[in-house]
Symmetry: C2
Subunit: 248 residues, 2 copies
């Protein structure tokens, strides 16, 4: 059982303002919570779980987090949840400090220029995890990674990919030896790009694409071949196809 | 201006039961409505639009649909909309009869085995349109294509791809000459499949994958190579990568 002030606090973390203020975010459901605990990438502050989850959950992690667990009933969990089916566990984690220095050598880095849809962003993090991408650089206007919908749609990949908010133009200027690829609708066919082992791949906003400041600085514009009529592809789908085509 | 009964009727079409009963569905926003009118794939019953939309919209289509247009104010449009920003126009279209016979020769056909997420389904329709796929066969349990979220996330591709509800197993059995490919996590690397000009590509449910009845009948299981750790890819992202890899 918990107090009204806890309900109010956890619910407040649905909003970026309060996440920034308290440097904390919430994850829901056994899969996402379990993977975040396992990854040890985020310090866990509190776990609210049903007895069912507590019994099933791995003993070693339980020992480690014993003092953080509050056993709750289903109906209590519902009060904390931002999704309709809270699903046995909700945990509060500490937000990581933003990394300032990024190593671009010998790896492919994804750069998101103003992705606004939480579902797209979460799906892109999951794609990056599938293709072994270590770092994603996001422009300041990209949706907050700790938004509950983003956390949920990463499907537990959040602990395995570093999300770094920063200035894409700055990183391009500061790393002139790293080749840059911009996903556009009028570039070179990705089939001709060939496999790469190093580079920055830039994905633009769902409606406006990549900002012109960034576009002016890239080495190569790349495009997914179109055989039909659709005007564009969803940003996450485009990211998946481009990584499939380019990652060796 | 319109009556309360129209508001009630249009709102009722947010539910499959009433869409089936009235054989009608709703599209919102200038892009989706405009493309559906242009494609002439769906008979338009009614258009509710602001004066701004009416002035801007192409004259020839306006003549054709003149008697169907009701000019409304923004606040009136909001009452009809299922999305928070109704965006100048809402139109009611007639649902097409389900096609019974499908031609599988000399073309790639997408088969969806129980896709449940409306956003995924809409995105898959858009991907099919990008790659020039003509027909999508959906199992009976696939989400309804006229669900407002599906219609919206197709981003106007709905008029250009045929959506056919049917029995995937039946189509496989009845077309033994057409090769079948099932997207799984334990199949042959899609890089080895090579380009195809004909075939059925089967995509499974977001959580459970492809049902075993269908899986038992396929010629080839195919898999997207994984370089990282994520357990799976989003169903729409997987569809995009597979079509990119296989479509010639």
């Amino acid at each position: 059982m918990f107090s009204k002030s806890i309900v109010k606090y956890i619910q407040s973390l649905q909003h970026k303002k309060f996440r920034d203020e308290h440097r904390a975010f919430v994850a829901e459901g056994p899969r996402v919570v379990g993977e975040l605990l396992k990854s040890r990438q985020f310090k866990c502050n509190n776990i609210y779980a049903t007895s069912g989850w507590i019994i099933n959950y791995k003993k070693d992690l339980l020992t480690e987090h014993q003092e953080k667990i509050t056993e709750v009933k289903d109906f209590e969990l519902e009060k904390l949840a931002s999704f309709s089916s809270p699903n046995s566990v909700i945990a509060e984690f500490r937000i990581k400090e933003n990394v300032e220095s990024v190593n671009f050598n010998n790896r492919i880095t994804l750069m998101l220029d103003d992705i606004r849809d939480p579902g797209n962003f979460g799906t892109i993090i999951r794609i990056a995890d599938w293709f072994g991408i270590e770092n994603i650089i996001c422009s300041a206007d990209t949706v907050d990674v700790y938004n509950p919908k983003v956390v949920q749609s990463t499907m537990a990949s959040l602990g395995r990919v570093n999300i770094i908010y920063g200035d894409i133009e700055y990183h391009i200027k500061n790393n002139p030896a790293i080749k840059t690829y911009a996903a556009t609708l009028d570039g070179k066919d990705i089939k001709e790009t060939g496999k790469i082992k190093e580079g920055m791949i830039i994905i633009g906003n769902e409606a406006k694409g990549i900002s012109s400041n960034v576009l002016d600085r890239v080495n190569e514009k790349i495009t997914i071949p179109r055989y039909g009529v659709a005007e564009s592809l969803n940003a996450a789908v485009a990211t998946g196809i481009i990584l499939y085509a380019l990652v060796e």
